[in-house]
C-alpha cells in the first residue's frame, strides 16, 4: 500500500518511525490491521480518515501510551530510529520522554503555568536553569508574551487555545525528538486553530510532528505527508481500521492513487 513515490523520497530523509504489518488489538477485537508506514524526520505527517479508522490508535503506538489501555496489544514491527519500540528491554517511560504528545482536549495540570511547563523537567531530573527553559519553551509555543506576567497563576485559568499552547510548551520543554498531536485543534475556535497551525510550521524546524486530524483542510495546510486511513466493518459489526495510502500531501489531495482516498478528500464520505 505504501506508494512508490514515498519510498523514493525516503532515500535521502531519515526515517524516524518504521511500521511493518503493525496490528493493534483491544482485548479480542482488532482495531488496526497491517499498517506499513514510515514517518520522516523533520516533516509533518498527518493522519486523516473517518472515525474508528485507527489513526489515533496508531499514534498512541509511537509513544506507547496504548500500553495504558487495559487489554491493548500491539503486533508486528515498529521501530524508532531503528530500535524496536515494543522490545521487552525498552522502558516506556523513557520512550515517552523522547516522544512528546499533545492531546485532543487541552489537559494542563491543575498547577501554575510555570509548574506545568517545569513538570516534565522536574520528573526527568532536568532541574538546571528551570527558569530559562520554561521561558524558552513558552516562547517557542508562542505563549510567552501572553503569560509572562502571570506565571504563578493556574494553567487551567487560561483560555482553551492558550491551554493547548501551554500543553505544547510543556511537551517541548523536555526537548523531545518527536511531537505527536492527537486532534490538537478539535476543541478550539478557528483563531486558536490558526495560531496552533502556525506554531506547528515553526516547530517543524526542530521537531518531527505527527498529527491526527479530522479536518482535511488542516492536513492540507500544515502537513508535508498525509496518510489516509479507512475503516471497514467485520462480521459481527465491529470495525477495523487500515491504511489506504500515504504520500505527499499535494498528491493525496490532488491526485490520490486510490479511489477511496479520492472519494474521502473530495468530501463524498467521512
Amino acid at each position: 500500500m505504501q506508494s512508490q513515490s514515498m519510498n523514493n523520497t525516503a532515500v535521502d530523509l531519515r526515517r524516524i518511525f518504521e511500521a511493518q504489518n503493525l496490528s493493534v488489538y483491544y482485548g479480542n477485537s482488532i482495531a488496526l490491521r497491517d499498517v506499513t508506514l514510515n514517518i520522516l524526520e523533520g516533516k509533518i505527517t498527518a493522519f486523516i480518515g473517518p472515525s474508528g479508522c485507527g489513526k489515533s490508535t496508531l499514534l498512541r503506538c509511537y509513544n506507547r501510551t496504548n500500553d495504558l489501555i487495559p487489554g491493548a496489544e500491539v503486533k508486528g514491527h515498529l521501530t524508532y530510529r531503528g530500535k524496536q519500540l515494543y522490545d521487552k528491554t525498552v522502558d516506556p517511560v523513557v520512550v515517552r520522554r523522547k516522544i512528546g504528545m499533545v492531546f485532543q482536549q487541552p489537559n494542563p495540570f491543575p498547577k501554575t503555568i510555570y509548574d506545568n511547563v517545569a513538570y516534565g523537567l522536574r520528573v526527568n531530573g532536568m532541574k538546571q536553569n528551570l527558569d530559562e527553559v520554561v521561558e524558552k519553551s513558552l516562547r517557542k509555543a508562542a505563549l510567552w508574551d501572553e503569560v509572562k506576567d502571570k506565571l504563578k497563576t493556574l494553567g487551567t485559568s487560561l483560555s482553551g487555545g492558550q491551554q493547548q499552547r501551554l500543553c505544547i510548551a510543556r511537551a517541548i520543554a523536555v526537548q523531545p525528538d518527536v511531537i505527536l498531536m492527537d486532534e490538537p485543534c478539535s476543541a478550539l475556535d478557528p483563531i486558536s486553530t490558526m495560531r496552533i497551525e502556525e506554531l506547528m510550521k515553526e516547530l517543524k524546524q526542530e521537531y518531527t510532528i505527527v498529527i491526527v486530524t479530522h479536518n482535511m483542510q488542516q492536513a492540507s495546510r500544515v502537513a508535508d505527508y498525509t496518510a489516509f486511513f479507512n475503516a471497514e466493518a467485520l462480521d459481527g459489526g465491529k470495525r477495523v481500521g487500515y491504511l489506504v495510502e500515504v504520500d505527499t500531501t499535494d498528491k493525496v489531495f490532488s491526485n490520490p492513487a486510490d479511489q477511496r482516498t479520492r472519494d474521502y478528500v473530495s468530501g463524498r464520505f467521512g
Binding site: L68, V93, M101, F103, Q105, P110, G120, R122, V123
Partner: protein
C-alpha cells in the same frame, strides 16, 4: 406577509397565559413543602443547640469559661472541669486521623489507579463500605474481648522499648488507653476516607494521567505530583468528615478509653473523652451534674463546629486549585 400567515402566527401565540390547573397548584405546593423541610432541618439543629445551652445554663453560670480549663470532675463537691476530656478527645481523634489518612489514601489509590483487576478491587471496595455497617457497640465489645488481649503485648513492647518517648511512657500498659481508642476510631473512619477519596480520584480526567505519563513521568510521580494535588480538596473533606466522626464517637470511647479523669502525656495510659464522660456519668447524675454534662456536650458541639468550619475554609482554599 399575507393575511393568512399573520393569522397562523397569531394563533400560535395563543395559550401562553398562566394556567389555573392542578399542575400549577401542585408546583407551588411542592415548592412550599421543600422550603418547609429545608427550614425544619436547620431549625432542629438550632433547637438542639439552644436546648442544650439552656439545660447547661446553671453550670455555665457556676463555672464560666473556666470549665474548659478545670481538671476536676467531682459530683460530691459539685466541682466540674473538662480539660482531661477535651485532651482525650483531641488525642484519640488525632491518632485516628493520623492512622486512617495514609491507609485510606493508599487504599483509594490502589482501588482506582489500575493496580489490580476489577474482580479484585470490587469485592475489596464492597467490604470496605460494609465496615460502616458495624454498630459501634459491637466494635467496642470486640475491642474489649478480642483486640485488647491481642494487642496488649504490642503495647507492652512499645512501653518497654520506646518508653523514653513520652507518648509511650508511664507504667506497664493494661490495655485500655488512648492509643487503643485511636486505633478503633481509625477502623471506623477509614471507610469514609477511602470512599470519598476514591470518588475524587475517579472523576479526575483520564487525560490528566496520560498527560503526565506522556511526559515521561512514572506512575508514582503521576500519583504523587499530579493526582493527589488535583484531588486535594476531596481528600481534605474526607479527612474532615472522618475527624468529625472521631470527635463525636461515643460507644467505642466509653468502652475502651479506661475512663480515668486525668491528663497523661502517655498514649498508653487510660484517659477519658467528652463522649465517654457523658455516657458513663449520665445515668446517675444529680441536677447540677446534668447541667455540667450538658455544658460538656455543648463544648463538644462547639469543638465539632469549629472543625467543620475550618474544614469548609480549607476546602474553599484548595478548591481554586482544581
Amino acid at each position: 406577509m399575507t393575511l393568512a400567515e399573520q393569522s397562523t402566527g397569531y394563533q400560535r401565540s395563543q395559550g401562553l397565559e398562566k394556567r389555573n390547573s392542578t399542575a400549577r397548584v401542585l408546583d407551588v405546593g411542592f415548592w412550599g413543602l421543600t422550603l418547609l423541610l429545608a427550614i425544619g432541618a436547620g431549625a432542629v439543629l438550632i433547637w438542639v443547640i439552644l436546648q442544650t445551652a439552656d439545660s447547661a445554663m446553671p453550670a455555665i453560670r457556676a463555672f464560666g469559661p473556666g470549665f474548659i480549663f478545670g481538671t476536676t470532675w467531682n459530683p460530691v463537691t459539685n466541682v466540674y472541669g473538662v480539660l482531661p476530656q477535651i485532651y482525650g478527645t483531641l488525642i484519640t481523634s488525632f491518632i485516628a486521623v493520623a492512622l486512617a489518612v495514609p491507609l485510606g489514601i493508599g487504599v483509594a489509590i490502589f482501588l482506582t489507579e489500575g493496580f489490580a483487576p476489577k474482580w479484585v478491587t470490587t469485592p475489596i471496595a464492597f467490604a470496605i463500605e460494609l465496615i460502616v455497617a458495624i454498630p459501634s457497640v459491637v466494635l467496642g465489645i470486640w475491642g474489649i474481648f478480642v483486640l485488647i488481649p491481642a494487642i496488649r503485648p504490642f503495647f507492652r513492647f512499645l512501653n518497654a522499648n520506646f518508653g523514653w518517648i513520652p507518648i509511650f511512657g508511664g507504667g506497664t500498659p493494661r490495655g485500655n488507653n488512648l492509643l487503643l481508642v485511636g486505633l478503633v476510631l481509625a477502623i471506623m473512619i477509614v471507610p469514609v476516607i477511602i470512599s470519598i477519596t476514591r470518588s475524587t480520584f475517579e472523576v479526575l480526567p483520564r487525560d490528566m494521567r496520560t498527560g503526565s505519563l506522556a511526559l515521561g513521568a512514572t506512575r508514582w510521580e503521576t500519583i504523587l505530583r499530579v493526582l493527589i494535588p488535583a484531588g486535594l480538596s476531596g481528600i481534605i473533606s474526607s479527612v474532615m468528615l472522618g475527624l468529625g466522626r472521631a470527635l463525636g464517637e461515643t460507644m467505642v470511647s466509653a468502652m475502651l478509653v479506661g475512663n480515668a479523669n486525668r491528663i497523661d502525656i502517655s498514649w498508653l495510659q487510660p484517659g477519658t473523652t467528652i463522649t465517654a464522660l457523658i455516657a458513663s456519668q449520665f445515668g446517675e447524675a444529680g441536677r447540677t451534674q446534668v447541667a455540667a454534662l450538658m455544658y460538656a456536650g455543648l463544648v463538644l458541639m462547639i469543638l465539632s463546629l469549629v472543625v467543620n468550619i475550618l474544614a469548609e475554609v480549607v476546602i474553599r482554599r484548595f478548591q481554586n486549585v482544581e
